[in-house]
Structures are given as structure tokens and as C-alpha cells.
């Protein structure tokens, strides 16, 4: 695939962009360039504070409407200028790093709710709206999108669609691919694509799927029609301790294949559970914490939860009542604030969330944990995980590795990081796991894409080449570079 040559950003480039979006929407000063040159991936944070050179965009350009996005894409094609779409910029995979310079297209000014359909329960929205703002808009009218990821308060809808994200209620309400009915996308050649107005049809493939999870490599999402729900009449939560991880996975499996539709299902491994039991629940117990929740019509919730509780009882789950689970729900974002979150520290860390069918998932977990903790014992590597997105065919876990110590030499530190990633992701792939489940691939996972897709990788490259022959859109991500 043809990659662009070294690009310069001249006064003329800046002038041309200003004629498209206005002077106030082309930002080239170091304050904004610095703030937009990294996300929360440890590597970008490390670059910033290790003295190493790291990639930066030439300019941050705000678009205020689709027509401007079209013209910016055309401009970038004419000038072979990399174009990196960015919403909240709070991803953890380097997905919006301007790897070869170019322009960051900031979509946060495209933040309008265009239409709410209270009959078919959909909302038409621009991509730059912060999810919390969209949810507030909907709540104010008695609705919800039921999308509550960790970055709920900070990330934008377009970013969630572009990484096919999930929230904590995904076991019932699904991923973004389940929530999006229709997309408007500016293609790399500057033409506009609008998918069909219904999500399910047999009018050829649903081409909108090409752009969900594509991380801005195939097009720029400028509008989305999304599913909404009425605010639930009842929502209840319950906490359990199950004897071990195997019992928890089996209980979760039975609940999911029994089609009980829990909105919340979270199982923590022994490591996470010991912290939660002592630190959050103040309970002396061993085993694995499992949180379960149901919502919707009160009568249905009562029946669904009764059956789920029977399953958990049979799996020797100890019922901790609703108190700890409700406290978790109400404080569900607290662990993402400093001083709790790992990003408040220089520690080497990454998430490598993995999804697989039920018969494989525990072996994958064990293999990844061993690969990290046994493989990097000299660095006191820690691996912990929770299982938080469940399906009726399998589940995913959200593992984090943590090395509080690493080499002082920055290049050696980055090499160590790559070795840990190799070990963790290699263990997952060898055991039939798919990395990544909901954080996206970006730069972090790009080098594993060939191995993950095997023969299918050529199709991905062919699609990219056909749609974006000049490799303008978010080059170097999703493993689609040269």
C-alpha cells in the first residue's frame, strides 16, 4: 500500500484549511498540539515524559459540519496529507496518534442531537457528542442509550462506534454494532456514504459494518442513527461470592444461555476479588466476586432475577445482597479517577481484553496470566482481570498487566513493554482468543493483526487499498500500514 512521503505543513496548507473551516478552527499552537498528541495508552504517556521524540500532528482542525469534513478529506487527498479523526482522544491503543504527522480532525464541535424518534426509539446524532451529554439529553426526555463505558464522561459517540465499544450493561444492550442503525460516512475519496435506514435487511451486505470498529481508517463518521430505550421501570443489582473462577464462568454461562438477559454481569478473578472484598465490601471471604443486575419491566425483572439467583445458589454462590452491588453501580466510575486509576502513575500497564467461546475462555485466561506473571517474574509483573461482557456463545475478560518497575533506559522500557504484549497476546491467540474485545486496536495491537486474522488479513488490506488508495485516513492503525 502506498504510504505518503514526508509531509510539510506550510502557511499555504494552513490558509487553505482556514478557508474551509475558518481561522478559529485551525489550531497550530504547541498548547493544543501537545494536548492532542497522546491518549491514555501507556506508550504515548511514556513518550511524552521520557525525553524520546514522538509523533505530533501539524495542526488540529475542527469541523463543524459534514460539508466541511468532505472538503477537508478532499484537501488531504490532494496534498497526500494524513488525516487522523479524533473525538475524545481517551483511547488506550494510540488510535488517534498522528504517527506520520498530518492533521488531527477534531470532531467535538459536531456535537448536536439532530432528531429523536419516540415511536421507533432512535436518536440521530453527530459523532462529536460526549456520551454523557447524549445520555443527559435522553434522560431528560425519559430515554437512555444504556451505553455506560468507563470513558462515559469524556469520550464521544463517534469514538465508541469507531472502536465498536461496549459499556457495563452490554450483556443486555450489546456493543455499538448492536446500537447503530444507520451511519453517514465521508469516504476517503471525499464522497458521502449513507447506509440504509434500517439495521436489518437483505439488500446486500450491511455496508455500515465496514466503519464500525474501523477506527477511522476507512471513512469518517459524520452522523449516526442509534437505538434508544425507555428508562427502565426497575433496575436491581445483587452481589455474590462464588467459590472460584470456573464456578463464576459457569454460572454466568448458564444465565446467558438461559436467555435471562442480565443487564449487568461482572465476574472478578481472585486477584481483583480479594481487593474488592476487603477494600470495597469490607468482607472477609475468599473466592470470586460476581455482580449481576436486571432491568426493565418490574414483573419481568422479578422473574429473571429469581431464576438467576437459583442458578447462582446451585453454583454455591454466597449472596451478599444488593448493598455492595448497588454501591458498585453508583460508584462505578470511581476507579477511573486518580488516585485509583493506573494512569495516575508512571507504571507500565496495558489492557488486552480478549473474547472467546465458553469452552476456551478459562484456558485463555490461565495462559495469559501465566505468560505475564511467570514470564516476567523478574519485574514482579501482575496480571488481573474481570469478565464484564457476556454473550450466549461466550464471554470476554478485561485483563490488565502491571509492571511497577521497568528499565530506566526508555528504549529498554519500550522493548520490555513489547515483550509483555507479545507474551500476553500470543498466549491468547494460541488458545483461540480474539484480542481486542472493546478497546480497539490502534497502534498498540496493529502488529498482531496479521496473526489474528491469518488468511483473512488480505481482505482487510484489499478493502483499505480500494477505499483509501492514498492511505490518507489514520495511517498506520489497525495494522493496515505497509
Amino acid at each position: 500500500m502506498k504510504q505518503k512521503e514526508a509531509t510539510f505543513f506550510t502557511e499555504t496548507h494552513q490558509y487553505e484549511l482556514e478557508t474551509i473551516v475558518g481561522k478559529e478552527n485551525v489550531i497550530t499552537d504547541e498548547a493544543e498540539i501537545d494536548a492532542q498528541s497522546l491518549d491514555v495508552w501507556w506508550v504515548t504517556r511514556f513518550w511524552k515524559f521520557s525525553g524520546l521524540d514522538f509523533p505530533r500532528p501539524f495542526a488540529v482542525v475542527f469541523a463543524e459540519n459534514t460539508a466541511q469534513v468532505v472538503r477537508i478529506v478532499q484537501f488531504c487527498n490532494e496534498h497526500r496529507m494524513p488525516l487522523i479523526p479524533r473525538g475524545g482522544g481517551a483511547g488506550d491503543a494510540g488510535g488517534c496518534v498522528a504517527l506520520t504527522g498530518g492533521i488531527v480532525l477534531d470532531l467535538k464541535k459536531m456535537d448536536k442531537v439532530l432528531e429523536i424518534n419516540e415511536k421507533s426509539l432512535t436518536v440521530r446524532v453527530q459523532p462529536g457528542i460526549i456520551q454523557k451529554h447524549l445520555e443527559e439529553y435522553l434522560n431528560n426526555r425519559g430515554y437512555t442509550m444504556n451505553h455506560f463505558p468507563a470513558s462515559f464522561t469524556t469520550s464521544c459517540l463517534g469514538g465508541f462506534i469507531s472502536t465498536n465499544g461496549t459499556g457495563v450493561l452490554s450483556s443486555k444492550y450489546g456493543k455499538l454494532s448492536d446500537m447503530v442503525h444507520q451511519l453517514e460516512v465521508v469516504l476517503p475519496n471525499g464522497r458521502l456514504f449513507r447506509s440504509l435506514p434500517v439495521r436489518l435487511h437483505s439488500t446486500g451486505p450491511d455496508y455500515s459494518r465496514l466503519f464500525i470498529g474501523a477506527e477511522g481508517t476507512l471513512g469518517i463518521i459524520t452522523e449516526a442513527l442509534c437505538k434508544i430505550h425507555r428508562l427502565p421501570e426497575k433496575r436491581l443489582f445483587r452481589a455474590f461470592v462464588v467459590p472460584d473462577l470456573a464456578a463464576g464462568i459457569e454460572a454466568g454461562r448458564r444465565i446467558m444461555v438461559g436467555n435471562l438477559q442480565p443487564c449487568l454481569l461482572r465476574l472478578y478473578d481472585e486477584n481483583d476479588s480479594s481487593h474488592i472484598l476487603k477494600g470495597q465490601f469490607s468482607i472477609e471471604a475468599t473466592g470470586c466476586v460476581l455482580l449481576v443486575g436486571f432491568d426493565g419491566l418490574e414483573r419481568l425483572v422479578r422473574v429473571q432475577s429469581e431464576i438467576a439467583l437459583e442458578i447462582l445458589s446451585k453454583m454455591e454462590g454466597k449472596d451478599l445482597g444488593d448493598g455492595p452491588a448497588v454501591a458498585w453501580w453508583e460508584g462505578r466510575y470511581k476507579s477511573y479517577y486518580p488516585p485509583n486509576d493506573y494512569i495516575a502513575y508512571p507504571w507500565m500497564t496495558a489492557v488486552t481484553d480478549t473474547v472467546a467461546s465458553y469452552e476456551r475462555i478459562q484456558d485463555i485466561y490461565k495462559a495469559m496470566k501465566s505468560a505475564v506473571e511467570d514470564g516476567f517474574r523478574e519485574w514482579n509483573a501482575v496480571f488481573h482481570a474481570h469478565f464484564s461482557h457476556w454473550y450466549d456463545w461466550g464471554t470476554s475478560f478485561y485483563p490488565t498487566f502491571l509492571l511497577k518497575e521497568y528499565p530506566n533506559n526508555p528504549r529498554e522500557a519500550l522493548t520490555l513493554f513489547n515483550r509483555v504484549m507479545d507474551a500476553a497476546i500470543g498466549a491468547s491467540i494460541r488458545n483461540g482468543g480474539v484480542v481486542n474485545e472493546h478497546h480497539g486496536i490502534g497502534l498498540k495491537g496493529g502488529r498482531f493483526m496479521k496473526e489474528i486474522y491469518a488468511d483473512g488479513y488480505e481482505l482487510a488490506r484489499a478493502i483499505k487499498k480500494a477505499l483509501d488508495p492514498n492511505n490518507i485516513l489514520n495511517p498506520g492503525k489497525l495494522g493496515l500500514g505497509e
Binding site: A31, D34, A35, V40, K132, T153, K334, Y337, I343, A344
Partner: protein, 373 residues
Amino acid sequence: MGIQEIRQTTESCKHCFMCRHACPTFLATKLDSHTPRGYALLLSEIDHGYQSWTPAIIDRFYQCSRCGLCREDCAYHWAEDEVVRNAREEIVAGGLAPARVKNVADSIVAHHHPYGEAPDAWTPPSAIAGKKKAEILYFAGCATRKSHPEIALAIEKIMGVLGADWTVMGDEECCGAPLFDLGFTEKARETSRRLVGKLKETRARLLLTGCPHCHRAFTELYPSWGSPLPEGLQVMHVSQYLLDQLRHGNLNVAVKAKLGKASYHDPCQLGRKAGEYNAPRALITLAIGNPPRELFHTREKAECCGAGSSMFLTDPQIASQVADKRIQAVREADSDVVITACQNCKQAFMDAQRAKGPPVRVLDVSELMAMVV
């Protein structure tokens, strides 16, 4: 003072995006460098020697209204507003303050208010002219004295109805809070020492201010700077005082104000900083016969009007963008009038609506009460 004072906050917040959705300046400009995370990141880079105080970075640090909503929104209440203020101290200490900021500070030092050569817009009534001592000292605040005589006139009317023993300081000067906010901390402290000396001379029992910035200066900042107010001198915001007078039967609502649909905007300094949310609402309810329509984000979570930290003087364009967002919230609440309890909020809302129409009417709570007593 400076970066070292807030290093723990800076290091904790420099990669955290959680409060971004709340930041009023960010919501107006959408710049990442205008978020609390952006400030912490830039300051940490400077602290670690990877960045320097460039004009663009300095500009960003003066485009925060220090409204404190980020701190309120944070699960652990990290004091990001203090990161900004400490950064400003560093900027001022390095002689790097932008001219537009320095002009405001110089004016306060030279003229004892931030408006340069502007004459007072309000002349105290003859009944209190030259009166040195009284039970109540009304401290109007700079914006009221220079730009909003209607607020002082409202107080004048209400004091007349009350038959209060009141006066004003003949040489009232800025309380110093703007100097503190802009990073001129030592100048602010000098102001506090001088003002406390003047306050001692008045022998007043009640210091009544319509400006929440002055209120905060007298109640929180002065004591922390070692300049406590004279013993026995109580400080009240006008809204608190008027509600107190109504409850004690010293003041009565004679007529209901016919305003149409009205909302109340919580000034940051009176609400989040002083914890006073109820008195203005109670007054409005009495004055118009029903509670004000609540804006979507209100009380502790109320967004700033953009005037905070003197931003309406140092960066009027950004202040107006911020105020415009708040005016949009007033329109979304389907209100025709927004009532506030800070003259700087009133100014910001009026500035934001210039050349736009039809405007949302802006009233100070004192003006409203003067209509009904």
C-alpha cells in the same frame, strides 16, 4: 506558591479526562488544552522540562474562569482550579503575564478597581454621603460601582424601605480577589491588609456585599492570608441578608413581580465556593410567586457564566462563548429571564447577548427584590 504547591494534583490529573464534560471553557472552545487535564499535562511538561512557558500556553492558563466545577465533578475533588491559579503565580513571578492580564492587575493596584479611568456609575444617596459609621456597611463591589448602578440603586431602595442604618466606604476599593485569581497573590494580600484597616474604622456590625467574589474574599481568603476581619463584623451576601429580613418580618413582599418564566443561575463563588444555593431561590420564589425554573445543570453542578477569574475583562471573547452556553441552557429551560446574584454574571450574560436577539432578560436578585418590596 507556584508549581511545587500543586505538584501532586498536576501529576494525578495530567492523564485523567474524567471531568472534561463539565469544564465550561472546554464546552465553549472544545480545545483539549482548555480542560483540567490539558492544564495539568502542560504544567507537568513544564515542570519536567519538556515544555516552556510559551505565549500560547500562558494564554490557555488565563482562559479558565476558575469556576471550580471540575473540582466539584471529580470523584476525589482534585483542586484543578488551584493548579491554574498556582500556574498563574509562576507566570507572574516570571514576569510573563500577558498585557491584557497585567493591565487589569495594574488598574486594580493603581486605581483600586479593574476598570482603568472609569468613573463611578453610582453615587451614594445624600442620606449616607460622608457617613463614616453605621450598623451596616454595604460593599457594592467594583462591577456594580462602575457598570451596574441599577444594582446599587436597588439596594438603596430596599435599605430605605427597611429604614436601615447603613453606609458605604467613601473610598471603597477592590477586595483583591481578582488579583489573587490572576496570580498576583502578594498584591492581593496587600489589599486585604489595607482594607481590613479601613473596615476597623467603620465599626460596622454587618458587612453586606452583593458581590460573591468579595464575599469569598472576606470570609475565606482574608483569614487564610492572616488578615481576619475585625471581631464581631459579620459578612453576608445581599441574598442572605434580604431573606433574613423577610423572615424576621422587617421586610415584606408588597406585590408579585410579573416577570414571565424565570430561571436562577448559581454564581460559582456564591454556590460552589460559599455553599449558598437556597437564599436566592427563596427570594425569587417569594418575589414571583413560584420557584424559579431550574436549569439542567444547577446548584453544585451549575456551569460558569464565563466571568469568573475576571475572564470577562481579560478574555471577553471566550467569556462570552462560555456565557452563551449558559444562555442556551436558559432558553432550553424555556425561560425568558435569568436571575443571578453576582454582577459579574450579569455583565457576562449581557455581553454574550449583544447583537443577538431576542435577548434573555438578565436581573440581579437585588433588582428583583427592589421591584416587590
